[in-house]
Amino acid sequence: MTPTETARNIPAARASAVTSVGERLFAGSVAAALAIELVFVSAVLGALVLFTDPASLSKAVATPTAQSAIWLTLVTVTLSSALSVVLAVPVAYGLVYWRIPCRALVDTLVDLPVVMPPIAAGLALLLLFGYYLGDVMRPMGLYLPYTRAGIVVAQFFGTMTFAVRTTKAAFESVGPRLPAVASSLGSPPWRVFRRVVLPLARPGLTAGAVLTWARCIGLFGPVIMFCGVTQNRTEVLATSIYLQNSIGQLEVAAGGTLILVAIAVVTLLLLKRLGVQSSLWQ
């Protein structure tokens, strides 16, 4: 056997030995993990679908109380996610393109609401707008706790960081190079933003807005702590499920849950349609 032949044969021999044990184990564990994931998600969704009959679904959708909750949800969520996005664009721009002093501190403060336990966020809002500012704002007609306006504030607080993060990811995907080139061609910062950064970040920004809206719709902790859940007043879809369950209306709660799941599915399909890479929001 010539030296070249030997060299060629050794890896081949080793490869066949490894394929039999290590490679199969590796492929097997990947397949098993994938199966567990799919079975678990399908089982949970299946339980929900099985339990909900058309009658309870129509109860969850068609009664005046349910419709009021759905409308309130759509209005508050759209308002609060719009506010979040409007705030997030300049905040994320500053965080990405400016040199900010005490960077670590600023980043931590901006990111905090997203890791803060939602119930804690609700309580903190209650303390601020109830205990401290309540007496000041009430005479101005701006008392927020346990009101519909309060729902918008709670949802806004719960999603603004999320909106900042997705917007930041969208701006970061543009990179520093093209804005620098635009600047060298004579664009001052606002023009760079409008002519280069914004158009290039648009897919990411759209995805961020859709996700912010979808996240907002399921927001529970801050809303229930700050605004409670009163039928026909401050009942939104997420808190309605909790309310219906606690008063023994399990079928209606399941119907409401199914609506939320359907919204989540539509959102995911929409994002796929937009062709946005998942890395933008993770």
Partner: protein
Amino acid sequence: MTPMLRVEGLSLRLPDCDLRDVCLDVARGECLCLMGPTGAGKTVLIEAIAGVRTPGRGRVWLEGRELTGVPAWARGIAYVPQDAALFPHLTVADNVAYGLVERRLPAETIAARVAHATDLLGVGHLLHRRPTTLSGGEAQRVALARALVLQAGLLLLDEPFAAVDERNREDLGTRVSALHRSLGTAVIHVSHSFEEAMAVADRICVLDAGRVAQVATPDELLRRPNGEFVATFTGARNVVPGNVSRSSNNGCLFQAGDLCIPVPGDHQGPARLVVRPEDILLLPLASGVLPPGRIPGRITRVTGSGSLLRVEVSTDGVLWTVLALRREAQREGVEIHPGTAVALALPPDAIHLII
């Protein structure tokens, strides 16, 4: 006359590059090539001039106007980055027109300038294409057009022909040179290729680890490198350390071991002798006494094929690299084979001493 661009004491520290005290002048209509090994700071230097990076220290003037602290967008410098960096969401036409739109020029002027520049660079047929559909060479031409349309006083080019194929490189270089000379633009052109630099540069600036090693005309840089770094960088492979002393007949002699070579000038003391490989003559070793200035040696290695050969010749303690034309060596009667005894002749005008 004030230079078009003056850079004074520019220093900028980055993790992988440390520009220190860079001083440069570029005259109106002049093309200065910036050369140096990777990481020497060529790109960082022109980015600092463009205003894309903020230097730690130093000042920059353009036509007598101080630019220190002026943001990139207000400098009025045309800059072509290394990777073309075209805006992917705009068509070629919109990319080229970008800077003109920012200057709020009338639409007819913009259209005329875009058409002129893109025709000059041979990309006039690509105006409606998106940058993602262009080849590397086409993208670089478009980036060049985007800068040329600005008709700025200073043009910064960061390896503008790197992705252009060899066949078109020379032609493109000539067109760009002709254009900037006719407009009186000053150009700083970062290049990796000596051939390219020789073709376009009025002067070459060699950077070594963030410092200016030498600024000189191409010929001077090849003939009179001011240090070992520049000598080696420009391919003068024969750099021999030794000592210069006065000889009996009132000339000067360079000595390194047993090697003894008459040299021009009147410097005495330690020095390094520099001779370019293409300047050394390869001669047959005749019997009897060698004429003065000839060095006996033996060929140790021959590389290259075809008409141009790189020959390594070992003499007393020194290994010389000689570029020899096969036909010329045959005419002189030299057999170019390892082991052949030969004589080297160093023409006096090819000898340079680094003191």
